[in-house]
């Protein structure tokens, strides 16, 4: 990583005696898109506010764009924030909102005007909106105005605090696409807080998972998804099956035993085991729902699960089955078909490849 745009080391944040952030060390590369995920109250907003300069840090250091941010007010930082509730100025028109950072920088009117129009185009907003007030726009349009305002002066770092959480799915999808497009287009670094895993996976170069004020895992989306650091990350990121198992180290790999899972050769290679798993003892086997498939009569797989269909949901592109197996409910997603392969109450066999298994600490 060439000189990072953000370099946070050992950041702590106390609200009174309550510790909201502990030992946050993080680097964001220039032009990188980092997604910040974690359960509610884990400190995502706090971290963003520290980056933006709205909150002081209690300990640690923060360098953005090569400068130590200690004592530098929000107004002088190379960051720009998009607020969860957008925070568009209700008394300013769309044009005034978007042009506000340039207006503050005392740029000539013509320059502001050009920049505003450029942003308008970039955000697919109509020119007739320029003289409207924010409350005269739809939610998605307001969203884009907020983005436009934060990007108009081409800040090196853009901080987004769940700006899309209030939007409906379809609008969200198109805005996500636009965001990705913008990111490629403008080369700004993004730190994007979201609750939505799919969004994080789709947009981010790397995902940072937080829990109770700490970073639990920081890595590429596939790494987070397929190689979660622990059961928390595995469970937080998407639907997943975590099956209790016992593991014992055998040479380079691990041997495991699991009541529910019947494998021809219960062996995991070293990279199929999270670092936190003890050399011998309890672990959980993670199986993503889409890794399972229905085994037709007579067919076999490296690993199988036998159970009964509890429920199923037709979701269009996929069908989700919930299957009772040895007292546990297993979730399976299979590609959608017009004829249902199994119905409620049917006895089924599920198969999966041994290589898709991943063990995390229990």
């Amino acid at each position: 990583m060439v000189s990072p745009i953000i370099k946070a080391s050992g950041i702590e944040k106390y609200y009174g005696t309550y510790r909201a952030l502990s030992d946050i060390s993080l680097e964001v590369a220039n032009g990188e898109f980092l997604a910040l995920v974690g359960p509610s109250g884990c400190g995502k907003t706090s971290l963003l506010k520290i980056l933006a300069g709205f909150e002081d840090l209690s300990a640690g250091s923060l360098v953005i764009d090569g400068k130590d941010m200690a004592g530098i007010p929000a107004s002088a930082r190379p960051t720009r924030m998009v607020f969860q509730k957008l925070a568009l100025f209700p008394h300013k028109t769309v044009a005034q909102n978007i042009g506000f950072p340039l207006h503050l920088a005392k740029r000539p009117k013509s320059e502001i005007d050009t920049a505003v129009r450029r942003m308008l185009e970039l955000m697919h907003l109509k020119e007739s909106y320029l003289n409207r007030f924010p409350h005269e726009l739809s939610g998605g349009e307001q969203q884009r105005v907020a983005l436009a305002r934060s990007m108009v002066s081409q800040p090196p770092v853009l901080l987004l605090d769940e700006p899309m959480s209030a939007l409906d799915a379809k609008l969200k999808k198109s805005l996500q696409a636009e965001l990705k497009h913008l990111h490629r287009h403008v080369g700004t670094s993004f730190v994007h807080v979201t609750h939505d895993l799919e969004e994080a996976m789709m947009l981010a170069d790397r995902i940072c998972v937080m829990r109770a004020g700490r970073i639990v895992q920081l890595g590429a989306p596939s790494e987070i998804y397929y190689r979660p650091a622990d059961a928390f990350v595995a469970g937080f990121i998407g639907d997943t099956n975590l099956l209790p198992a016992k593991v014992t180290r055998v040479g380079e790999g691990f041997r495991f035993s699991c009541e529910i899972l019947d494998c021809t050769e219960p062996l995991l290679s070293a990279d199929q085991v999270a670092p936190g798993v003890a050399a011998g003892g309890d672990a959980a086997l993670m199986i993503r729902p889409e890794m399972l498939r229905l085994l037709p009569q007579g067919e076999n797989a490296e690993c199988t699960i036998v159970g009964t269909v509890n429920e199923y949901f037709i979701r269009g592109a996929s069908i989700q089955y919930r299957i009772a197996a040895a007292g546990t409910e297993i979730v399976m997603d299979i590609p959608g078909t017009s004829t249902l392969p199994a119905k409620q109450g049917d006895a089924v066999r599920l198969g999966l490849a041994l290589g898709d298994l991943f063990a995390v600490g229990a």
Binding site: G53, T79, F83, F89, H91
Partner: protein
Amino acid sequence: MRLSTLPLLLLMGLFFVIPLIMTALLSFQGTQYYRLVWTWDLKVWTDVFSQVHYWTIMWRTLVMALICTLLCTVLAIPIAYGMLHRLSRWSDHITLLMVFAFLTDAVLKTFGWVLFLDRSGVLNGTLEAIGFPAASVNVLFTPNATMIGMVYNLLPYTIFTVALSMARIDGDLVLAARDAGASRLRAFVEVTLPLAKPGIWAGAVLVFVLSLGVFLEPKVMGGGTSPLAAELIRQSFETRVNWPLGAALTLVLIVIGAAALTVFGAVALWQARRVAND
């Protein structure tokens, strides 16, 4: 017109329009021997329009009210802002103190000011103790003292209305302005101030109306040498027992007040057009 507005209309009629009509009718009567006589003539009104001093006092009242409104508004904005943002930890205590001061009898407060501002009062005593010449603040019994009293007694109205409207502003908006590169002052000017305008206007109107009717302050703190409209009206009613004259002067004051408010309102409306109500 809907039926549900009827009670409101009746109430307004009862408490506002009817007394106003009665006042107007009263102004066409006469007095004789300290008693009202029903004459139905314009004597009082010709009197009102031919006497310069009534208008001197009305004009003075209007000017004082405008200055007071301006001062209260200008003072209330930083005070309210400070209470909410800079001293937010103490804002409950400050509010409590202000409520106490506000609820304390105006008479007591005004007399307190007399003791404070007097040549031999607390202020001058303190100043003298730290080396200033004796009686260096000679403000009591001047129009300036009246203004001090008016501002002191009416300031809470503006502070409360302004603080109320400032408290309703989403804090993120100010952060967004700061984030966009605005200094604290700039963020205040660009965001807080325009969004607090409804409260600022409301406070200003309230104080203006109240200050048109101030009575105690010019009399007690101002030393009675520059009487304002309320004193003039009181004198007409009470000392001269000339109710028609008092009624006419009351109407004049109401009209002046209403005219000023209309101008206020026009400006405020024009402002409100710009501050889209969100």
